[in-house]
Symmetry: C2
Subunit: 363 residues, 2 copies
Amino acid sequence: MNSLKTVCTFTCLIVSNLFLSAEAPKVHSDGSVTFELIAPDAKSVQVDVKGRTGEENDGKPFDMVRGKDGKWTYTSAPLDPGFHYYFHFIDGYRIADSTNPLYFGWARLANGVEIPDPNLDCYLPRNVPRGEVSIRPYFSKITQSWRDAYIYTPPGYQKNLKKSYPVLYLQHGSGENQTSWSVQGYVGNIMDNMIADKQCVPMLVVMDQGYAYRPDAKLDENGRRENNFEELLVSEVIPMVEANYRVNANRKNRAVAGLSMGGGQALRIALTNLDTFSHLGCFSGGARNLSELVGDTKHLNRKLDLFWMACGTEDGGYQRNVEAHELLTASGVKHEFYAHPGTHEWQSWRRQLSVFAPKLFRN
Amino acid sequence: MNSLKTVCTFTCLIVSNLFLSAEAPKVHSDGSVTFELIAPDAKSVQVDVKGRTGEENDGKPFDMVRGKDGKWTYTSAPLDPGFHYYFHFIDGYRIADSTNPLYFGWARLANGVEIPDPNLDCYLPRNVPRGEVSIRPYFSKITQSWRDAYIYTPPGYQKNLKKSYPVLYLQHGSGENQTSWSVQGYVGNIMDNMIADKQCVPMLVVMDQGYAYRPDAKLDENGRRENNFEELLVSEVIPMVEANYRVNANRKNRAVAGLSMGGGQALRIALTNLDTFSHLGCFSGGARNLSELVGDTKHLNRKLDLFWMACGTEDGGYQRNVEAHELLTASGVKHEFYAHPGTHEWQSWRRQLSVFAPKLFRN
């Protein structure tokens, strides 16, 4: 337990403009972006921009053009507002530009660029009372390793000592991790702003890594290890949080939500632990066996104060979300389905959190 | 104030073995390390290992050797125990391997490798009560930007609500930032272990970025902007901490320390703010105008409960530290000088913190 090797090593980094030796991507007023990279000895340099790029590139990286002094440049078409992961390739090798900010996504550290959104500002920092995000180490019996939970505590938590709070357990998507909601999701800004505007009640937001493997994990038919995260959240994370923070440790004061893969996890966790959770949010996600999970509709309706689903109408999973919504409606499951313009990207999840959080812990 | 562009963007990342598509460096029992990188189309791949490498390379990167399938490898000589930053070069372009952990150092994100140390284990995680490191945003009037302070709170802080704590303000070195002490320094592990062993009193440790520039900062003769960090710590960070945390807001309960560049900052901050601080630690650092800073020796000795300097005997600055120690002795300044085997690397600073912290807040 005391070897650094067994630690799920975290690296927390600030990249400030003080230190940039390469140029940051230049975002133009129309949302197009000029990427630059100085590599005089490279034969080819590319940039791989994720999300909708406004060009038909079939997801392939764009070739950058070599200028004098070995500076390679590429200017994109206007990108969708919000957050876009990007990578460079140097002679075919996928790199992170370590002089610009990095975000955990695509199962590795990736660069990212932010396109201003005229229609959404909930995630921008404002001069309101600020909460904080705490990195809390705990030892998992399931994984036999140290893990870090990221825990948002609201403004006043450190000083308002008589108050206890409800908790939202909030999960990331595939290939991301416990840092993703607070870094590229700006959960701190969103919650601080909404609490300041009295749009939502002060709460803790607990973000953990949605992958948890036993050392002797079995492999499935695809060679994948069994993921015990759902068990870990209920049997290890919740007790750890309730032992260490001033929270209301009861069903009425626990919510679980997640995006994409994490939305499916949230569905399964809530619907199989109705004595533990009263609020459920599924952001751009779903579960194949939803009707099985729903089980006894009356019991479910009595237990869940909120069953909330959301999906962008341009999300590849939108139709499946509509079908799930219809299944729930046909089954008599009280729920809300929030459809909005948007793709399977962070701008949708920031928006969804800003619509979901105000509905929590109201009774 | 509400643009993401003005945010000192932080990226907090976990790289777990779950996601590695490249190999992690293999540390052998003798401390040598095999680095591997798959880049079939690269003409040349190098690895640049920082710290003492056991080879005469004058600080230049080592050439890696291309094997079949485009895998490049290099096995180092035995490295010094502790933490070594490293980079790769792909056809001359310095990269971060984004599938392995990254640490902020060398003014950018760098990879790092940890060599086990038979003589120091204070920084390894143990099954003791754990504190946490909180990321606290605040708006700086000096820099006119959002900044993040990293704040260690000890075990029990969240629950032991009647207690208030002393505070150590602890600074990183040149090219590092507010994340460095908690990530590569493992300040959380060190403090948790020492508090569990009753070697030091529970305290908060506040780590901020040691660079703070006014938007209209003047340039010095070398074209460098004036750094207002020392003013910012006293006029903005301390009030922010004391407004938001349960701390004892008086001189007796404030210490300031730092490593390398941060050691010089700590010296200047403490010696010019004797009504604010009672404890001072200078780790492998120094200040050119020390005798001026010392000023009235009697006054200094009355105000400072601890004036502590430390340096590794193999540190390039060791002789300057010995001279500073002699100057202080000759001037009648009560102080301690801790010399130990070690270089200008993190292993020395982990060690120094573990010797310094037990001396704090004892009266």
